[in-house]
C-alpha cells in the first residue's frame, strides 16, 4: 500500500486534505478520473495519484463520503458524511463552538 510508509499524523493530514479538497459543489455528483485528480483539484496536486486513490477509496469505503462509487478509471461521490465534515473542518468548528456559546449565553441573560 502506498500509505504504509506514512506516519499516523501524515495519514491524518492526507485524509483531512483530501476531504477538504473534495468538498466543493462543483466536484459533487460528477465522475472524476483517477489519473487526472491531482491536476484537477489544486490542493491535491502535491500527492502521488496512487496515494490519492487509496485515500479517496478509503474515504468512500469507511463512510466519510456519501454516495461513493468507483471503477478502474473513475470515481464519484455525492457529499461528505457527518464524520467526514467533522474530520475536514474539526479545528474550525471549535472556533464556531466557542463563539456560539458566548452568543447563546448573552441571549439567555437578555431573555432572562
Amino acid at each position: 500500500m502506498p500509505t504504509s510508509n506514512l506516519t499516523q499524523p501524515q495519514k491524518e493530514a492526507l485524509l483531512k486534505t483530501t476531504l477538504t479538497a473534495l468538498d466543493r459543489k462543483a466536484l459533487r455528483g460528477v465522475p472524476h478520473d483517477w489519473a487526472t485528480l491531482p491536476q484537477r483539484v489544486a490542493r491535491l496536486s502535491a500527492y502521488d495519484p496512487d496515494l490519492l486513490r487509496v485515500a479517496v477509496r478509503f474515504c468512500g469505503s469507511s463512510g466519510l463520503l456519501v454516495g461513493y462509487s468507483e471503477n478502474e478509471q473513475q470515481f464519484r461521490f455525492e457529499e461528505l458524511s457527518t464524520l467526514g465534515v467533522y474530520l475536514a473542518y474539526g479545528a474550525a468548528g471549535r472556533v464556531v463552538d466557542t463563539g456560539s456559546m458566548l452568543v447563546y449565553k448573552q441571549l439567555f441573560r437578555m431573555f432572562k
Binding site: 500500500m1 502506498p2 500509505t3 504504509s4 499516523q8 495519514k11 491524518e12 492526507l14 485524509l15 468538498d23 496512487d50 486513490r53 487509496v54 477509496r57 478509503f58 474515504c59 468512500g60 469505503s61 469507511s62 463512510g63 466519510l64 468507483e70 461528505l80 457527518t82 464524520l83 465534515v85 467533522y86 474530520l87 473542518y89 474539526g90 474550525a92 468548528g93 472556533v95 464556531v96 463552538d97 463563539g99 456560539s100 456559546m101 452568543v103 441571549l107 437578555m110 431573555f111
Partner: protein, 133 residues
C-alpha cells in the same frame, strides 16, 4: 498496486468499526497484539495482521478511534468515535459547512439576528397574552 475489491473493503471496515469501536471488555482501553486481531471476529480471520494494521491505523487517522497507539507489535484504542460524536459542544455538520462557505462573522451575525427576532416574537406574544389576561 493491489487493492481488494471495494465491497470487500467496505465489509472489512464495517467489521473493524463494530468490533473495535464498541468492545469495552477486550479492546477499548486494552493493549492487544496485532496478531491477536484476526481471532477477535470470524470475519477478520482471513486477513493477515499487516492488512488489518493498515486499515485500523487509517480508521484511527479518520477519527473513528481515539487515543490510538501503535508500536508495531501491539496497539491500543482509548475511545470509539461514537463517544466523540455524542460529546457536547459539537455543532451540526450543516453549520460547519455554513461556517466554511460564509465565514464565522456572517454565521454569528445571522444567529444573533434570528435569535433577536425570536425573542421579540416571544415577548410580543407574552405581552399580548398578559394584556388579554
Amino acid at each position: 498496486m493491489n487493492l481488494m475489491p471495494y465491497e470487500q473493503e467496505v465489509a472489512l471496515l464495517d467489521c473493524l468499526k463494530q468490533t473495535l469501536g464498541f468492545d469495552r471488555e477486550t479492546v477499548i482501553g486494552h493493549t492487544l497484539r496485532w496478531d491477536e486481531l484476526p481471532s477477535l471476529h470470524p470475519q477478520l480471520a482471513g486477513y493477515d495482521p499487516g492488512t488489518l494494521r493498515f486499515y485500523v491505523s487509517m480508521l484511527a487517522a479518520a477519527g473513528f478511534f481515539l487515543g490510538f497507539e501503535d508500536d508495531g507489535e501491539c496497539f491500543s484504542i482509548q475511545r470509539g468515535a461514537y463517544d466523540y460524536l455524542s460529546m457536547p459542544g459539537h455543532l451540526s455538520p450543516p453549520l460547519y459547512r455554513r461556517y466554511r462557505e460564509r465565514g464565522i462573522g456572517k454565521v454569528l451575525f445571522e444567529g444573533i439576528v434570528l435569535s433577536g427576532l425570536l425573542i421579540w416574537i416571544l415577548r410580543t406574544l407574552a405581552a399580548l397574552l398578559s394584556s388579554h389576561g
